[in-house]
């Protein structure tokens, strides 16, 4: 039925929005000498990330415009994220009797963020049909990372060191199950990581990492259950090449890839129109359905109810290319401007079954076949999953970063 196709369309532009760049910018987009053995000390870092998400990837890897054709071109989700990082590098065990650790510096990093996400007007208006709030702002999740540096090795002009680390993500961020957008994720992650830094000829700096992200469940999914409840683990890989032009100027290009290791599962899908029964005229006016469909007597009024699931997607992935320039100011500060461009990806989509009823008790008492007694039809709507675990932005984002070492000249 066309109205369900329209629902799918509505779902499309409502549900694709989310802060995919947030996750990418927090952990796995590499920077200059990110994994080098830094001088012992405490570093602070502030990163501002801006993105206007106009395009996303669907489950086939195709780029889809937000909300088209139901909203005019240019609709977007505008995202601003401020990351605050504190990095400590030291050796708690130096000069102690603890073997291995006394010779290998350790590091810990804490990351939190403040986020702002807002849909453009047309998107926000249509979101209200589903009773959702159009935007959100607040504190992001807390990331705590600790690890240990490996020894430095040199082969001719190449210097190399590795590191092992584990990141814990604690979901302290703003999270409203009724919101269309959320800064926090509402699930924990544990991310063991191997990384390396290499320096060639003192001028080419290479940083890379491999990480496996173990995600916990989200028992309270947002926006009508269109965030996954059982979240697939992720594989992350990145590599960055930086060129040193002088002691003050650097430029880099990077490659970042993530892929879910399996499917995301949705167990609590409940997304539905807030006001029911739904008048065909209103539906046609809002969604641009063919009038002949809306004028059918069968559609005088109806109720919709999604089946809760479980549903599974085909997994998600994303590939980013980055390019940036760095300016080192007075050896205490690093200013960086970077553009991140998604080049491939796959978003999460699920085929949700809706029961169509003529009464408000939809679908009614269950029948032997599985659908309710009051269900007069069932239709499948393809919906996008939301949030970082499911959505994959196809829009570029801009990153402005300042690293400051308190005690340096």
């Amino acid at each position: 039925m066309r109205w369900l196709q329209a629902l799918s369309g509505l779902g499309l532009f409502l549900l694709v929005v989310q802060s995919a760049p947030a996750q990418g910018g927090i952990l796995f987009t590499p920077h200059l000498s990110e994994y080098a053995r830094q001088p012992l000390g405490t570093y602070t870092e502030t990163t501002l990330i801006f993105s206007e998400i106009e395009k996303v990837y669907d489950r086939n890897g195709e780029v889809v415009e937000l909300g088209r054709p139901f909203v005019p071109a240019g609709a977007s989700t505008d995202t601003a994220l401020a990351l605050f990082k504190v990095l400590w590098v030291g050796n708690m065990f130096r000069d102690s009797g603890v073997p291995f650790l006394r010779d290998h510096p350790q590091f810990c990093r804490v990351i939190t963020s403040l986020g702002y996400q807002q849909n453009t007007e047309q998107v926000a208006e249509r979101g209200r049909l589903f009773g959702s709030q159009p935007g959100s702002n607040g504190l992001g999740d807390l990331y705590a990372l600790c690890g240990i540096y490996g020894a430095e090795h040199r082969w001719g002009p190449a210097q190399f060191n590795g590191l092992l680390g584990v990141t814990l993500k604690e979901p302290i961020g703003q999270y409203d199950p009724d919101a269309m957008l959320n800064i926090g994720s509402n699930y924990r992650s544990v991310i063991p990581q191997f990384a390396f830094h290499a320096n060639l000829y003192g001028r080419l700096l290479i940083d890379g990492t491999l990480a496996y992200q173990i995600n916990s469940d989200n028992p309270n999914p947002a926006f009508g259950g269109t965030t996954p409840t059982r979240i697939a683990d992720w594989f992350n890989a990145e590599i960055n090449f930086a060129w040193k032009f002088s002691e003050k100027w650097f430029a880099d290009i990077g490659y970042s890839f993530h892929k879910s290791m399996g499917r995301n599962h949705y167990d609590q899908v409940s997304i539905n129109f807030k006001d029911q029964p739904i008048a065909p005229d209103a539906l046609c006016d809002n969604l641009g359905l063919n009038r002949t469909v809306c004028d059918t007597p069968l559609l005088d009024s109806f109720y919709l109810e999604p089946r809760r699931g479980p549903y599974s997607d085909n997994g998600v992935s994303g590939t980013l290319l980055t390019a940036g320039i760095y300016y080192v100011y007075r050896s205490s500060s690093v200013l960086q401007l970077r553009v991140v461009q998604p080049v491939a990806g796959r978003g999460s989509q699920i085929d949700v079954v809706y029961d169509v009823c003529a009464t408000s008790d939809c679908p009614g008492p269950p029948t032997q076949g599985g659908s309710g007694q009051n269900s007069i039809a069932e239709q499948v709507a393809t919906l996008f999953g939301v949030q970082e675990a499911a959505a994959t932005s196809a829009s570029p984002y801009l990153e402005l970063r300042l690293v400051y070492l308190f005690w340096a000249p």
């Binding site: 012992l40 504190v86 000069d95 804490v110 807390l142 003192g202 002691e247 070492l405 005690w407």
Partner: protein
């Protein structure tokens, strides 16, 4: 949200003081490298007030080599030299001949500074020489010094301010900022500003260090550094030869060998250590009973008490460099003071540097006294200290190392005020050509970051008359 308490805890943890302060304050033992003989008491660090960490050893059976003292760079400690000690041991050195004591804070929370670290190095050299003299039963006259990075300028300032050239047989400098380092600034802020004022390219402090000669006295100098402008991040193209010392054997190692060792790697490389060992072996060890020559004066004639010793003198405020032909006897020229030492090329031992003036034609001009402007105090910015003697013919010498100055101490010259970027005690002395000395002048300078903060409190920005709450207890940037 219950884990929000983690945030302030983690932030507080990041702001904790260095463990050199924290653990003693909690009455907890401070883990430190203490590989010393049981009967050696390491001196206390001038910075932390704690016994210096490091390594050394009991002297083995003779013959004994000149002991080597390793001096580390900024924000690290003596443990840095452990791999080099291993290589020296493999080359035949004994543990009792290899010493390193950690000056400074061992933390980037507190950048080390040259002037503030000189007293620690003075205590290090004194304690090692005293200990080995006691254990060997014969006086240890000289040491060799191997220094890296900030340790190079610390050691050079120590040599200058304590007039210790006769005590150092060989000085090996690796990657020192002898002519500045790009990361230091003339207008530094925050805790590192002392060392930044000292080491920015073109700084008056470096001019003071280099003015009288970059390789004074009988000491032999080897400077090893990157030289490519790329491998050592502290010395890029514009300053790639900053470490070179005029008059030294300069070895831009990476440039000459096509290698890429960085700032911290270079001194640890076996091939670089081999260069050090080769340099040290070029000179014979003095016989155990050898004594340093003494400089004698008869009227304006100079000679040594050892016939084979040679005299080296320089005028114009310069120190006489080594490696030149000395003379058996010398006559002091009238006017300018001469800086001289006697060196015995057979034993390799030398007299302390002295500064002498011809007495011929000198007419005393009353009681000798010394004046200073400014006469010490608490300041936000580095100070230019002007000294003047009541007798214009008198020479003025000074020291910032906490030791009384002698005639061989740095020479104050009119028009070249003493640049004081760090909290130090300046001790100055005027010496007339006939040998009379003024009463020593003691000037305490506190170039304090806290005074900056005390003068710029929010309250004082609204009310100029609000008192400065400066307690005179400088803690930051020490």
């Amino acid at each position: 949200m219950r884990v929000l308490w983690l945030l302030p805890v983690l932030l507080l943890a990041a702001c904790l003081p260095p463990r050199e302060r924290l653990l003693p304050a909690l009455s907890l033992p401070l883990p430190a490298l203490r590989d010393f003989p049981a009967d050696f008491s390491p001196p206390r660090s001038a910075e932390t007030g704690l016994p210096m960490p490091g390594f050394g050893g009991e002297p083995g059976a003779g013959p004994h080599r000149t002991p080597v003292i390793f001096v580390h760079g900024s924000t690290i400690s003596a443990r840095y030299w452990l791999p080099v000690r291993e290589q020296f041991l493999k080359a035949g050195y004994q543990r009792g001949e290899l010493w390193a004591l950690g000056y400074g804070w061992d933390s980037v929370h507190h950048f080390d500074s040259n002037d503030l670290s000189v007293p620690s190095l003075e205590r290090t050299v004194d304690s090692v020489m005293d200990y080995l003299s006691r254990k060997r039963g014969i006086p240890v006259q000289q040491v060799d010094i191997v220094a890296h990075s900030l340790g190079v300028t610390v050691a050079r300032q120590w040599l200058l301010q304590t007039n210790s050239y006769h005590r150092v047989r060989n000085f090996i400098a690796v990657s020192g900022a002898n002519h500045g380092v790009w990361t230091a600034r003339a207008d530094p802020r925050a805790l590192q500003r002392s060392v930044s004022w000292e080491l920015y390219p073109g700084s008056p402090w470096l001019a003071q260090l280099n003015r009288a000669g970059e390789t004074p006295g009988p000491t032999r100098y080897l400077s090893i550094y990157d030289g490519t402008g790329w491998a050592d991040e502290l010395f890029p193209e514009a300053g790639k030869d900053s470490s070179a010392l005029a008059g030294a054997r300069n070895l831009p190692y990476n440039r000459e060998h096509g290698t890429w060792f960085d700032h911290l790697e270079l001194p640890l490389q076996p091939a670089v250590v081999a260069q050090m060992l080769s340099f040290l072996r070029e000179v014979e060890e003095p016989l155990p009973q050898a004594q340093p020559p003494r400089l004698r004066r008869q009227g304006d004639e100079l000679f040594s008490d050892q016939p084979e010793a040679r005299l080296h003198c320089a005028g114009g405020g310069l120190y006489p460099p080594g490696g030149t032909e000395g003379r058996e006897r010398l006559r002091l020229p009238p006017g300018e003071p001469s800086t001289c030492y006697a060196h015995n090329p057979v034993s390799g031992l030398a007299s302390p540097m002295v500064r002498l003036q011809a007495r011929e034609g000198y007419v005393p001009a009353g009681e000798l006294s010394l004046r200073a402007e400014p006469a010490g105090g608490v300041f936000e910015q580095p100070q230019q200290l002007h000294l003047s003697a009541s007798d214009p013919a008198a020479l003025i010498v000074y020291s910032t190392a906490g030791v009384p100055p002698g005639s061989g101490s740095p020479l104050y010259r009119p028009g070249q005020p003493i640049y004081i970027p760090t909290p130090v005690r300046v001790q100055a002395l005027a010496i007339s050509p006939d040998g009379r000395q003024s009463k020593p002048l003691l000037l305490d300078f506190d170039i304090s970051l806290e005074i900056v903060e005390a003068r710029n409190t929010l309250q004082r920005q609204f009310d100029d008359s609000a008192p400065e709450q400066y307690q005179g207890q400088r803690k930051k940037g020490r």
